[in-house]
Subunit: 225 residues, 2 copies
DNA sequence: ATTTGTGTAAACTTAATGTTAACATGGAAA
DNA sequence: TTTCCATGTTAACATTAAGTTTACACAAAT
């Protein structure tokens, strides 16, 4: 598996745990970052946009569950994987963690091997292939440089336009429903008018000059050459 | 979450466990199927193509790990989620399970609540709600791309036409009563005239150019090559 | 402070899609 | 054969979704 470049943020107030987990995940090839309390975790998460966040439940400033809830409410962290780390092995907190939107739950005392296994399993399943430059036909979409090139010519898109195009192009041919688009690009909680998506689609079509977005009436839009 | 229609196969040799797990998952809205040994698990998995398989590690005929390995080697089960259920709480088997390609691992004695939570968490993450591409003869119907291909040539259907065709083709040969078609495609509450279905059937026949929808007079329609 | 770019809303137009109604057809039963 | 009934066919019509344009609010840049 390709672990390289996968960013993991781990938050725990016990330096020993931070160290042992960092070491073991680092050995697997992950980029590991740390935070020592809830507030720092949120701050670093926003800076780093990690692929996975491992949260101790019992932390100063904010508990892991609180951090999770706060992050999950933001569209940026909708797809970020979260694992809880806790000494509480009781059932109630277990369920609460998963309901809050965590992807897994590991009880202390943790075995580094088990943790690494679980992390690998999560990454294997998700295989989040983001950040990659998409190349479809003569169109290339680079989310790092924030550039769209079409037949070698650079086209400048606004943020929302870019995100929308990137989403569609990430799975060429696949139809994205309007509410999928809304929740991915705008975020679940945001409410925008009916015509907003259309307007953005229009701008993209206009700027690209090439007809690569197909309307599937009553269903959604898809990227196609 | 929409749990309806998600199929779960659970394999365990202890009837008590089968029952309690079936009951609890059923209550959540999942369609639950059971198997009582490794061979039966494989057989039923092939029949049912479930979204999730819960495997007891210690089973007669074949162990859960063996079943997992066999299924994972087939492309059909590449994306099927698998959870192991085991009394062995030792680390070694834990890791081995995940390495074989399981998505999670739950130790006995299991708490139904914990299991249900984990199942929900897995489904929430994966959200494998895309329908499958149907392939009957030289016709393929892809609900993700919203495309019908016939002899490699793309045919564009409108939403209702597509839904209707997809319904019929989902069970080739089986006759769908007009009522069934109405409630599946239009929704139970919607009232439309008598000729509406016919008109849509006609359009599909016209667009496909191939006669694959058979009228069963006085009864309904069926998809057939 | 002014300009520029971006995102959203509103009003309106256009086009695709869905439905109806009227009539045609064709097969089965009387 | 004639009648009847379910379905096929067609075109008109209704409905709904999407496209378009303009305007405006807001934030960032100058």
């Amino acid at each position: 598996m390709e672990t390289k470049g996968k960013r993991i943020l781990i938050a725990d107030d016990e330096p020993d745990i931070l160290e042992i987990v960092s070491y073991n995940l680092g050995k697997e090839g992950y980029e590991v970052y740390t935070a020592k309390d809830g507030n720092e975790a949120i701050e670093r998460a926003k800076q780093l946009n990690p692929d996975l966040i491992i949260l101790d439940v019992m932390m100063p400033k904010k508990t892991g569950v609180e951090v999770c809830a706060i992050l999950r409410s933001q569209s940026l962290f909708q797809d970020t994987m979260i694992i809880f780390l806790t000494a509480l092995s009781d059932e109630a907190s277990h369920i609460k963690g998963l309901e809050t939107g965590a992807d897994d739950y590991v009880s202390k005392p943790i075995s580094p091997k088990v943790l690494v296994s679980r992390v690998n399993a999560l990454f294997r399943r998700i295989n989040k292939d983001d950040g990659k430059t998409l190349k479809i036909g003569n169109i290339s979409i680079d989310p790092v440089k924030f550039i769209v090139e079409i037949e070698g010519k650079e086209v400048i898109l606004a943020k929302k336009e870019f995100e929308l195009l990137y989403l569609l192009a990430s799975k060429p041919g696949r139809v994205f429903l309007r509410n999928e688009i809304l929740s991915q690009v705008w975020g679940m909680d945001v409410i925008v008018g009916d015509r907003t998506i259309d307007v953005h689609i229009r701008k993209i079509r206009q700027k690209l000059g090439v007809d690569c977005i197909t309307t599937v009436k009553g269903v959604g839009y898809k990227f196609e050459i």
